[in-house]
């Protein structure tokens, strides 16, 4: 695609830089990480040094001072090589850091954002609960006002970076019976579960950061894909959260996290498109190499059709992705476009990776080639940050809102 529709000169440079990094540092370890489910602290440290863990935040806050498009480019490029790295970046930046940047006080920003943006600690976002998934307004975690602090009780599930991270934004019910208007966001902290490794590597843990008593990570999920990304429960057991850690306004938690999720959806679109392109490129190369019936399988019309469809859908997805990103960058409404990009790109990732495995035949089904991993990594893109069904609901509300009540 001709990206000049969406890209300025600096965007090409960001892309080249992330591509270099992904190919030279991430590609060689991706397969092993998928097998071991280990969190890649070494490459995360490098990402911090390169500025990738704070792409869109100002230099005063320790960020790279770049724009939203640059940030989505970084996810997109990493996604082509390894979805887990891309997801870690997305959850850290958009889910973990952006609510503090956007809704935090100056003091909150100064305290937390530089640590996150420089990659000294990882961040995350605790919204989903065992009983509140798609219906995130069904938050059951409670926050009781105790004068100088709130007492939090409850559990969050499927939280990206919950184990490895130290700074989290989490939602809890401050007013029972008030539905989604009784939900408030808080900033909570805890020690990383990898303290020893973090000390050895030199990132991931900050002693001086005060930790919230009563917050801890639960068991790590065994997953089908995104296996080098850390997914766990985040538990609040009489957690003592100081009043100054209330994020935004009391009762505004729901409204705020919907905004955060809108931006996150563009990130998952970028990640999904990256997976699709990674798999497509593998399949395209393989089609030129693999010979059957005396010729390259890429000479068969049946394979042409598959590759042509993949290429066309990727082109369409690229437009959806960067046009949503441009809207967000320009400060225009982008809710519908973000949901469309996320829905289309995640489903396209599933279709493309499935076709890629098919083009590889039996070899594609083995771990010898990355396409089976990409197929496993693609599936959860249709689930996380709002399932495909929820995206359709969001889109429908936007297009029917004024007609059907």
């Amino acid at each position: 695609m001709d990206e000049s529709l969406y890209f300025e000169e600096q965007h090409h440079q960001v892309r080249e830089m992330v591509r270099d990094f992904a190919l030279s540092e991430v590609a060689p370890v991706a397969r092993d990480l998928d097998r071991t489910q280990e969190f890649p602290w070494e490459t995360i440290k490098q990402m911090g040094e390169l500025g990738l863990l704070g792409v869109p935040w100002s230099e005063e806050l320790g960020g790279a001072g770049m724009d939203q498009i640059s940030y989505y480019i970084a996810i997109h490029e990493l996604g082509k090589v390894d979805a887990s790295h891309a997801l870690t970046l997305s959850a850290h930046t958009n889910l973990g850091t952006s609510p503090i940047v956007e809704f935090g006080t100056d003091a909150q920003r100064q305290t937390y954002v530089p640590l996150l943006a420089s990659g000294q600690v990882m961040g995350g976002f605790g919204l989903t609960e065992p009983g509140a998934g798609s219906d995130a307004g069904g938050t059951a975690t409670t926050a009781v006002d105790k004068g100088d602090h709130y007492l939090l009780n409850g559990s969050k599930i499927f939280i990206t970076n919950a184990g490895v991270g130290e700074i989290f934004v989490a939602t809890a019910r401050t007013e029972p019976g008030k539905g989604s208007r009784g939900i408030t966001s808080f900033i909570v902290t805890k020690d990383t579960v990898d303290i020893d490794r973090c000390r050895a590597v030199g990132v991931g843990h900050v002693d001086a950061l005060p930790k919230t008593p009563g917050v801890r990570a639960g068991k790590k999920e065994e997953k089908m894909g995104w296996r080098a990304s850390d997914t766990r429960e985040l538990l609040f057991e009489d957690a003592i959260v100081p009043k100054e850690n209330l994020l935004g306004t009391l009762g505004q938690g729901f409204v705020n996290f919907l905004k955060t999720l809108d931006g996150g959806r563009i990130g998952i679109a970028a990640l999904s498109l990256g997976i699709a392109e990674g798999a497509y490129e593998q399949a395209r190369q393989y089609a030129g190499m693999r010979k059957q019936f005396g010729q390259a399988i890429g000479a068969f019309q049946g394979v042409h059709f598959a590759l042509a469809d993949m290429a066309m859908e990727i082109e369409a997805g690229t437009h959806l992705l960067y046009s949503a990103a441009r809207l967000k960058q320009a400060g225009k409404p982008f809710k519908k476009e973000a949901a469309m990009a996320k829905l289309f790109c995640s489903e396209l990732a599933m279709r493309t990776t499935t076709k890629a495995v098919q083009i590889f035949g039996g070899y594609g089904y083995t771990t010898e080639y990355p396409v089976e991993r990409m197929m496993r990594d693609a599936k959860v893109c249709e689930i996380g940050e709002g399932t495909s069904e929820i995206q359709r609901i969001v889109i429908a509300r936007e297009i029917l809102g004024k007609i059907v009540r």
Binding site: Q13, M17, D20, S24, L50, G51, V55, A64, G65, S70
Partner: protein
């Protein structure tokens, strides 16, 4: 130290290329360009020298068309302080013509070191560095894999076939850099942002006369087909003999 690094814009070595219809050049459709591999090692070497020896200045110098600006900016996003762009619509094949223009721009600027890559990945000539050294009347060491700089003096190692050679030379000097001095860094986002504000001076290249030119470019002959010398353990003695006597990979 004040270090100049000369870099060349060359076609991306990872891409497959085809020969253009004129039979003398590469087809440029869909071509991507990069800093020539060894030149990028030279940029890295210069940055590391100044990081180790305290403050200094690294100037990247390139000769070529307007688009060379991309490579000069990239070198500055890696950490070079400024760039000089000697503009020329085309880069001649004749290294002497290029060396003339570079020497002209480098002369009298009191650089402690002038670095080049061992050779450009497109022409593979490896002559421009030595020719610049000659023109500036400076000592020249080529193909360096290890480098130490002391007071007014340098020690370099060159990896030869079967031996490593250590040489010393006085500063200022012209050096051409091989791999081994450290893998070129990936520019950080801060580096990319910062490079936009660094000075890039443009002036027309004073090329020397072009006396050497390419008249034809042809793909290499097809590799001879493989040979099957036998099967199983019986084939081993013959295979060993061929590896030793013909391929000369065993001794």
């Amino acid at each position: 130290m004040k270090i100049a690094v000369c870099i060349k814009r060359v076609p991306d070595t990872e891409l497959r290329f085809t020969i253009a219809a004129d039979g003398q050049s590469l087809d440029s459709t869909g071509m991507k360009y990069e800093i020539s591999t060894f030149d990028e090692y030279a940029v890295e070497a210069a940055l590391r020298l100044n990081e180790a020896h305290g403050p200094g200045e690294v100037t990247v110098v390139g000769l070529g068309p307007a688009a060379l600006g991309e490579q000069l900016r990239r070198a500055m996003s890696m950490g070079a302080d400024r760039a000089i762009h000697l503009t020329a619509d085309e880069v001649p094949f004749d290294g002497a013509a290029i060396a003339h223009a570079l020497a002209d721009a480098l002369e009298g600027q009191s650089y402690d070191l002038i670095l080049f890559g061992r050779n450009a990945t497109d022409t593979g000539n490896g002559v421009v560095g030595p020719m610049v050294a000659h023109q500036l009347n400076l000592p020249c060491v080529t193909g360096i894999s290890h480098l130490e700089i002391g007071a007014g003096q340098g020690t370099a190692k060159r990896v030869l076939e079967g031996a490593v050679e250590t040489v010393t030379f006085p500063l200022p000097a012209v050096l051409t850099i091989d791999e081994g001095l450290g893998r070129p860094r990936i520019p950080s986002l801060k580096g990319i942002m910062g490079a936009k504000k660094k000075p890039l001076a443009e002036s027309p290249a004073e090329l020397g006369p072009v006396r050497v030119s390419v008249t034809a470019l042809a793909p290499p002959p097809d590799r001879p087909p493989g040979r099957i010398v036998g099967q199983g353990a019986d084939a081993v003695p013959e295979l060993v003999r061929l590896l030793r006597d013909e391929a000369k990979v065993l001794s």
